[in-house]
């Protein structure tokens, strides 16, 4: 896919999203309510209408070739760059899914193991130190200092002895 195609495609998707938002806002009152002012859908409706207008303008500018992107026939993303980006995005996706399944701390350990050892090719020593150190740091900062409990899924009972220490 060239940058030129991506530009048009994105503008079309943006325009469709705008129409979708307009329809969604239209479920509420987008007109004037006597004594209460504009309905709750009015502001998002007209904003979405503006988004649609801006997207149409981008499409128009694509046709007349006004933007540098609309004239560029380079590849939108090369294969090797796509690989790098998808490894990163994929590993975050994995981290989020794993958080739901096994809780954030186990997920963090697995995520770090993958990223440090298999992507970064760091030594086992460094990998192990960070694999344990970062989750411990996150725990101390968020759970202990800032009192924000992070999702732990079924690993929650393993933290009971630490809670006893923290809150006793």
């Amino acid at each position: 896919m060239t940058v030129r195609t991506a530009e048009l495609l994105t503008a079309i998707i943006c325009a469709l999203c705008s129409i979708g938002l307009m329809l969604k806002a239209n479920e509420l009152n987008i007109g004037w309510i006597d004594g209460r002012g504009p309905g709750s859908g009015a502001w998002p409706f007209w904003l979405s209408a503006g988004m649609l207008f801006a997207s149409l303008l981008t499409m128009f500018r694509w046709f007349i070739g006004a933007t540098p992107e609309s004239r560029s026939t380079e590849l939108f993303i090369t294969r090797d760059r796509l690989m790098i980006v998808s490894i990163s995005a994929g590993s975050i996706l994995f981290l989020l899914v794993a958080t739901h399944l096994v809780g954030i701390y186990v997920a963090l350990v697995l995520f770090l193991l993958f990223y440090l050892r298999f992507v970064g090719r760091h030594t086992w020593l460094l990998t192990t130190i960070l694999m344990i150190g970062i989750p411990v740091f996150v725990f101390c900062l968020f759970e202990w200092a800032l009192k924000i409990p992070l999702p732990k899924s079924f690993t929650e009972p393993m933290f009971y002895p630490i809670y006893d220490l923290m809150y006793s």
Partner: protein
């Protein structure tokens, strides 16, 4: 005048009492750390630590929280520069030039400039706060909803006029930010709005941090990985005493823009509707406009770091003015401070000055001390923060992802927001590849609820007459300036074409 000096010196002495001074030291250090963390800003730090301040008297408590606020304003610049992620929305503008400077190996220069500019901004604004509190409060009181809305229109117009990006794409970015801000319960009617797919997570709205961390955390990292192919790991950072002294000498080059930015930041900060974020963006825009070399902005101009940093510190002081004098918070952080004051049994408002002068002047005195303490701690720790960049990318990137995810979870504590943040990160990265500016969307989602409320209140008061924004003098001036800003690139474009035509004909 004399009475102000007497009260002020009493306040400063109060702030120097061992307990209060200890609170300033602790607050500034925590503030710096919280501010430096992507996703956690002054508002999170203040909200989370408010309950523990009940251990100390109200004066010490507010001094502690104000010191966090102050420290976080300094700290926000640290992550904006070293990581390219704003530590809080107030440091968004610092990324524009802070990031290129760090990439060029001048992170130490940018950090020193940010610290010094913050100090200048802090000092100027505290002096203004002390001297001009009563007349300014009276002026800000005149601002009704139409003026608030007009001011926000002006803030968005600066993006179109001075942003230098593709105009339809900039408009799209602003509007999508504003639309995202409307998700959730309608502030006026209480109706649920734009609840996509009936997912209950949308009921509490889209937190601006979710968009900001998504775009500037995950999106930025993906962008960096792609452009560097993950190969460039270290931005070369040279740190030495000599370089430090040289960095201090740079002050000359940005003293003018910082003074201007501080003054603007202070005034914008006092307005309840605006605050540190638009103030820093306005200050950035003005620094660019008045610069002899506007082309270098966004590519690593030191004034582009100094101007927003001076303004956001000045605005944080400014936002305390309506809180103390009128009982109206000037920012989300001061709203929490205000809530604290009510719990401590103090009634915010003009009477505070007469009923609890020790509290008010203790707070004002502590601002002078906190400003000094924050700059010292900040500069002392620069070498440590700069060292963050010497980490290999395969260590830095996962660490940042983790901070983003945990930071995105912290404000609302739902996984829904973390998923949304990830989505925004990927979409933001793709849009950025096509030259869609992302900063306006982040600004818009922050200002969105305020903009909508002031628009609807104005229209309700005027019975739907849109001319209310033009007829009132203050808002009329704002709208006029906004129109000038919006038409500026069109006129410039037209003239450029005409001169190109003339050149081709001759």
């Amino acid at each position: 005048m004399e009475s102000i000096l007497t009260l002020l010196s009493a306040g400063i002495l109060e702030a120097l009492e061992p307990l209060n001074f200890g609170m300033i030291l602790l607050g500034c250090t925590i503030g710096l750390l919280v501010g430096a963390m992507p996703g956690l800003g002054s508002v999170n730090g203040v909200a989370i630590l408010l309950p523990i301040t009940f251990l100390v008297p109200p004066t010490a408590a507010i001094i502690f929280l104000a010191a966090i606020y102050y420290g976080a304003m300094y700290g926000g610049a640290i992550s904006s520069i070293t990581l390219g992620i704003p530590g809080a929305s107030t440091a968004v503008a610092t990324v524009f030039d802070g990031r290129p400077l760090a990439q060029a190996g001048k992170a130490d220069k940018a950090l020193t400039a940010a610290a010094i500019a913050s100090f200048i901004g802090g000092t100027i604004s505290i002096v203004l706060f002390t001297l001009f509190a009563p007349p300014l409060a009276a002026f800000a009181l005149k601002f009704g909803p139409p003026e608030e809305f007009a001011l926000m229109v002006l803030a968005f117009a600066t993006f179109i006029g001075l942003g230098g990006d593709d105009i339809p794409k900039t408009i799209f970015s602003i509007l999508i930010g504003l639309v995202l801000a409307t998700v959730g319960l309608d502030i006026i009617s209480g109706q649920p709005r734009l609840i996509f797919g009936d997912i209950s997570g949308f009921l509490h709205g889209v937190n601006f941090l979710v968009l900001a961390i998504g775009i500037y955390g995950i999106g930025e990292m993906l962008w960096t990985l792609e452009t560097t192919k993950g190969e460039v790991t270290v931005h070369k950072v040279k740190m030495s005493i000599k370089a430090m002294i040289d960095n201090f000498r740079d002050v000359k080059s940005y003293i003018g823009t910082t003074t201007l930015g501080s003054t603007i930041g202070y005034f914008v900060g006092t307005l309840p509707a605006a605050g540190a974020t638009p103030a820093s963006l306005m200050s950035y825009g003005l620094a660019k406009t008045f610069s002899k070399d506007p082309e270098s902005f966004g590519k690593g101009n030191i004034s582009g770091v100094a101007a927003p940093e001076a303004a956001n510190n000045a605005a944080s002081t400014g936002s305390m003015l309506p809180m103390i004098t009128l009982g109206i918070p000037g920012s989300p952080t001061t709203a929490i401070l205000l809530g604290g004051m009510i719990i401590w049994g103090l009634r915010p408002g003009p009477l505070l000055f007469t009923e609890h002068p020790d509290f008010v002047w203790g707070l004002i005195g502590s601002l002078y001390i906190a400003n000094f303490v924050a700059v010292v701690i900040n500069i002392a720790f620069i070498p440590i923060f700069v060292r963050v960049l010497t980490l290999p990318f395969t260590i830095l990137a996962p660490t940042i992802y983790i901070l983003c995810i945990v930071g995105g979870y912290a404000p609302t504590q739902t996984m829904h927001d973390v998923w949304l943040m990830f989505l925004f990160g990927v979409v933001g990265y793709l849009l950025r590849k096509l030259n869609y500016p992302v900063a306006p969307a982040v600004l818009a989602i922050v200002l969105g609820p305020l903009a909508e409320r002031s628009l609807r209140q104005s229209l309700l008061a005027s019975q739907g007459d849109m001319f209310t924004f033009v007829e009132r003098p203050i808002s009329g001036v704002c709208i006029f300036l906004a129109l000038v800003l919006v038409s500026y690139p069109l006129i410039k474009n037209f003239r450029a074409r005409r001169s190109a035509k003339a050149a081709s004909q001759s």
